[in-house]
């Protein structure tokens, strides 16, 4: 984890590369470096500490399966670790210079998870 200054605030930067060079499957039971493990051991503690004022850097890892990304980010909403407003804010803090479509993909998972929760609530 790295800290950088964004204006007057210090922003925590989470590099997925530091968690795993080869991000794995969706669930822990399926294999190492899973989306579930990343969410529980890295994302959730960071959010509990600093809220959604964090930056998530997707660059440097070998690649991502969509299950990994969906479970890591969509799971934050489903497990109510963050609310809809926080999810919207978090989706603007995703950095992916190598493949900009990844940031869009994560954003869509956050949006889908919010929609899913809203549908359930109705």
């Amino acid at each position: 984890m790295v800290h950088s200054d964004r204006g007057a605030f210090t922003v925590k930067i989470i590099k997925i590369k530091d968690f795993a060079e080869f991000p794995g499957p969706r669930y822990r039971k399926l294999g190492p470096c899973s989306g579930e493990e990343f969410r529980d051991s890295v994302l959730e503690p960071a959010i509990r500490e600093s809220g959604v004022d964090i930056q998530i850097d997707l660059d440097g890892a070998f690649g991502y399966g969509s299950s990994f990304l969906e479970e890591a980010f969509g799971g934050l909403v489903r497990l109510k670790i963050i609310n809809a407003a926080q999810a919207k804010e978090l989706s603007t803090h995703i950095k992916s210079d190598d493949d900009p479509t990844l940031a869009e993909e994560v954003k869509s998972y956050l949006t889908d998870a919010i929609d899913g929760l809203e549908q359930k609530a109705r």
Binding site: F22, P23, G24, R26, L30, G31, E70, D98, A113
Partner: protein, 371 residues
């Protein structure tokens, strides 16, 4: 002496005698049977003769004729391992080992050798062939068997044969859990010059296919009657005819068996109606599974993997996807016309015999990957 005149004491004596004689005979008979069985086992082990399984001319599942012959060969192998102590696999007729068939064969051998360690496996080496204009000697089949680790699996020393660049790039690996580092290392080994974005796309498809194997392929025992618990997956990466080939294989229950467990009946019916399919044979169910993945599983957030498995076709117009599961075969890809227009096509084929597992294969032209 008449029966009626026999005294009760004498009758009891005779009955007892008969009773003990019958026990003696049964025991002797059983001992003789065991001795015979022991001798047979000993004879089998000592005998230079082994049960022979003949490999087909083409170990391949790409066309119906080869598919049937390869599946029969694999069935014979399973029968031989379960019933005999010594097996010899004969490659005298084998002229070709294709990628998907080769991976299926090595996965089957790996599974059988692991679970029947007492079975001695030998093989007759494939004969040299004469290829090309000058009819040069060629040891391609033996080189392939070396490369895919067949001789190591059966514990037979490898012979040094000429190595072929088209074969030496083949890489194979296997695992029990969805470990990204195995898939990543294989993709890296095959061509380090590939751009990162291409590697990321290949990795994405591979890790999702492997996750599917771990998550769905082994809900119950494989229906081959062997009662073997082996929940591994196998992966192959290689370059064949200027195309990068990635194959992921499992020896599980197959996609057609897992669909009813993972999707609601209404969803399956809706997709089949959308595809205008009335029959539900294996190839139709595989085709439906690619749509089911696009729609939803019983848990709405899941089922994103299918998108990744088909994703390479969207990025690379020359790419093809082949899914072989049980008796079904589904091929998806793009046809590029002379005018350069891209037309998507999907082919379905129902084979006579089941491979009892799933093979997912991508082939992408190297030229497109390097762009």
């Amino acid at each position: 002496m008449k029966k009626s005149t026999v005294s009760p004491q004498l009758k009891k004596k005779i009955d007892d005698k008969r009773h003990w004689r019958s026990i003696r005979h049964t025991k002797a008979h059983e001992e003789a049977r065991l001795q015979k069985h022991k001798e047979k086992l000993y004879r089998d082990i000592r005998s230079p003769w082994a049960y022979e399984v003949i490999a087909p001319p083409k170990i391949s599942i790409y066309n119906p004729r080869d598919h049937e012959r390869t599946v029969i060969f694999l069935e014979n192998l399973r029968k031989a391992f379960s019933k005999h102590l010594k097996i010899r696999i004969c490659f005298r007729d084998t002229k070709e080992i294709a990628a998907a068939g080769g991976l299926l064969f090595i996965a089957e051998i790996d599974r059988l050798c692991t679970h029947y360690p007492h079975v001695k496996v030998d093989c007759t080496h494939p004969p040299r062939r004469h290829h090309g204009k000058f009819k040069n000697e060629s040891y391609v089949i033996e080189s392939i068997l070396n490369q895919i680790g067949f001789f190591k699996l059966i514990g037979k020393p490898e012979r040094k044969v000429q190595s072929y660049p088209t074969v030496s790039c083949w890489q194979l690996s296997q695992g029990r859990v969805a470990e990204g580092s195995i898939a990543g290392a294989l993709i890296n080994q095959i061509d380090e010059k590939l751009p990162n974005i291409a590697k990321q796309r290949l990795y994405r498809g591979a890790i999702e296919a492997i996750s599917n194997c771990v998550d769905h392929a082994y809900p119950t025992m494989r229906p081959d009657g062997l009662k073997i618990l082996d929940d591994r997956w196998w992966m192959f990466v290689g370059i064949i005819m200027d195309k990068l080939i990635i194959i992921v294989c499992d020896l599980g229950v197959g996609i057609p068996s897992t669909i009813p467990k993972n999707y609601s009946e209404a969803t399956i019916r809706a997709v089949l109606e959308f595809l205008k399919v009335s029959k539900t044979n294996d190839s139709e169910l595989i085709h439906a599974s690619t749509y089911l993945n696009k729609t939803r599983t019983k848990m709405a957030h899941r089922g994103k993997g299918g998108k990744d498995i088909r994703g390479l076709l969207d990025h690379y117009p020359g790419a093809n996807l082949g899914i072989y599961s049980n008796k079904g075969c589904f091929k998806d890809g793009n046809k590029i016309t002379k005018s350069g227009a891209k037309h998507a096509f999907a082919l379905k084929d129902e084979q006579k015999k089941s491979i009892k597992g799933t093979v997912i294969e991508w082939s992408i032209p190297i030229g497109e990957l390097s762009q």
